[in-house]
C-alpha cells in the first residue's frame, strides 16, 4: 500500500507559468502529488517545514531568497526532503556547490518537460540526476566536474603521504577493508588514519572527505 502512494512534491519557482506547466505535467501521472507551490526561496523553506514533501523542485534564480541560499538553509534543518535544482543554466561550479549542499539532482528547464518524471523517480530511488541522466557513481562525477572547473595544484593540509593515499582511495569508493588489503595493513590502522585525516581536515564522514579532497585539490592529478 505504502509503495503505491504518490510521491509528494513541492514546486518552488517565482514564475507562475513555470509552476503551472510543471504542475500539470506532474498531475498527469498518478504517481505524483503536488502538495504545495512556493514563489520564492523563503516561502519554499516554510512550506517544506509545513508539508514535509518527499521532493522539492527548487528554482535557483528567485527573489527574496535565491535557491542556493534556500538549499543552504535546508541543509541545516532536519528534513527528509530531497531537492532537485531546477534552473535555466548552471555553471559546473554551481553544480558542485548544489551537490555539496545536498541537492540530489540538477534539471535544466529546457529539459524539464521531457525529463521531469524520470528525474524525480531516479532521485526517489536514491540516485542522483545530472546532465539529463541518472548518476550511479557520484564521486566519479564530482571528480570530473572538479577537473573541469579548476586547475589542480595539489595541497596537503598537513596530511602525511600515507594519509593522502588513503584519501585518494576513499574518493575512489574503497572500503576500509579494500584499503587495508591494498596497503597490507590492518583495518584498525586504516581507521586510525581516517580519524587523523578527519581531525586534520575538519570533516565528519567519508562523503565530506571526498568532497573536501575534490574541492581542495587534495588528489594527485592523475588519480
Amino acid at each position: 500500500m505504502a509503495s503505491s502512494s504518490p510521491i509528494r512534491l513541492l514546486i518552488a519557482d517565482d514564475h507562475p507559468v513555470v509552476r503551472v506547466g510543471l504542475r500539470n505535467m506532474l498531475l498527469s501521472d498518478d504517481q505524483f502529488q503536488v502538495v504545495a507551490e512556493a514563489r520564492d526561496g523563503a516561502e519554499a523553506l516554510v512550506l517544506v517545514k509545513k508539508w514535509q514533501p518527499e521532493v522539492l523542485l527548487l528554482d535557483l534564480a528567485m527573489p527574496n531568497m535565491p535557491g542556493m541560499e534556500a538549499l543552504r538553509e535546508l541543509t541545516s534543518h532536519e528534513t527528509q526532503t530531497r531537492t532537485i535544482v531546477l534552473t535555466a543554466k548552471i555553471e559546473k561550479q554551481q553544480i558542485l556547490e548544489a551537490l555539496q549542499l545536498g541537492a540530489r539532482g540538477v534539471l535544466l528547464k529546457d529539459a524539464a518537460v521531457e525529463h521531469l518524471a524520470a528525474c524525480i523517480r531516479a532521485v526517489m530511488q536514491g540516485q542522483y540526476w545530472l546532465d539529463g541522466r541518472p548518476v550511479q557513481n557520484l564521486v566519479q562525477v564530482l571528480r570530473e566536474l572538479t577537473a573541469q572547473t579548476a586547475p589542480p595544484p595539489r595541497k596537503t593540509y598537513g596530511l602525511t603521504s600515507r594519509e593522502l593515499e588513503v584519501v585518494t582511495l576513499i574518493t575512489e569508493g574503497c572500503t576500509n577493508k579494500d584499503i587495508a588489503t591494498q596497503f597490507g595493513i590492518s583495518e584498525e590502522t586504516v581507521k586510525r588514519h581516517l580519524t587523523n585525516i578527519f581531525n586534520k581536515l575538519g570533516v565528519g564522514n567519508r562523503l565530506e572527505l571526498a568532497l573536501f579532497a575534490l574541492n581542495h585539490h587534495l588528489l594527485p592529478a592523475t588519480a
Binding site: 514564475h15 507559468v17 510543471l22 500539470n24 535555466a88 535544466l108 528547464k109 529546457d110 521531457e114
Partner: protein
C-alpha cells in the same frame, strides 16, 4: 519542412499531459504570451532607464518560462539580452528588444494557428 518556434516535442508532451483539460492547456500558453508581453514592456522601460540589473532579471524571468514551454528562440534571445545587459551594452539590448517583439508576434501567430483565438491575450 517548416520550422516551428514552439518545440513540437515539448508542446505535444504538455498537450498529452493536459489532455483532460484542453482549455487549461490553451490558458497556459495564453498566460505565457500575456506574461511575455508584460515582461517585454518592462524590458523596454529598463532599457530606456539604463537599468542593467532590472534588464537582466526580467530577461531571465522570460527565459525561464520560454524554456519550460519549449519556446527556445525567445529563450535564446533573452539569454543574449542578459549577456548584453551584464556588459552594459544598451544599444545592443535595444536592437534585441526589437527582435524580441517581432519574435513574440510570430510565436503568438503560431500558437493562434494551433490553438485558435482563445490563446491570444486580451490587448493591454
Amino acid at each position: 519542412m517548416r520550422q516551428t518556434l514552439v518545440a513540437a516535442e515539448v508542446y505535444d508532451r504538455l498537450q498529452r499531459a493536459m489532455a483532460s483539460d484542453p482549455e487549461g492547456f490553451c490558458d497556459l500558453y495564453r498566460d505565457y504570451l500575456s506574461d511575455a508581453r508584460l515582461t517585454l514592456s518592462q524590458l523596454y522601460l529598463a532599457c530606456h532607464g539604463r537599468n542593467s540589473d532590472e534588464l537582466r532579471a526580467k530577461a531571465h524571468y522570460l527565459k525561464s518560462s520560454s524554456l519550460v514551454l519549449g519556446v527556445s528562440a525567445i529563450a535564446d534571445l533573452c539569454a543574449d539580452i542578459e549577456d548584453c545587459s551584464a556588459e552594459i551594452e544598451f544599444a545592443a539590448v535595444s536592437k534585441k528588444l526589437g527582435k524580441l517583439t517581432q519574435l513574440l508576434n510570430r510565436v503568438q501567430s503560431e500558437l493562434e494557428q494551433k490553438l485558435g483565438p482563445r490563446v491570444v491575450p486580451a490587448a493591454a
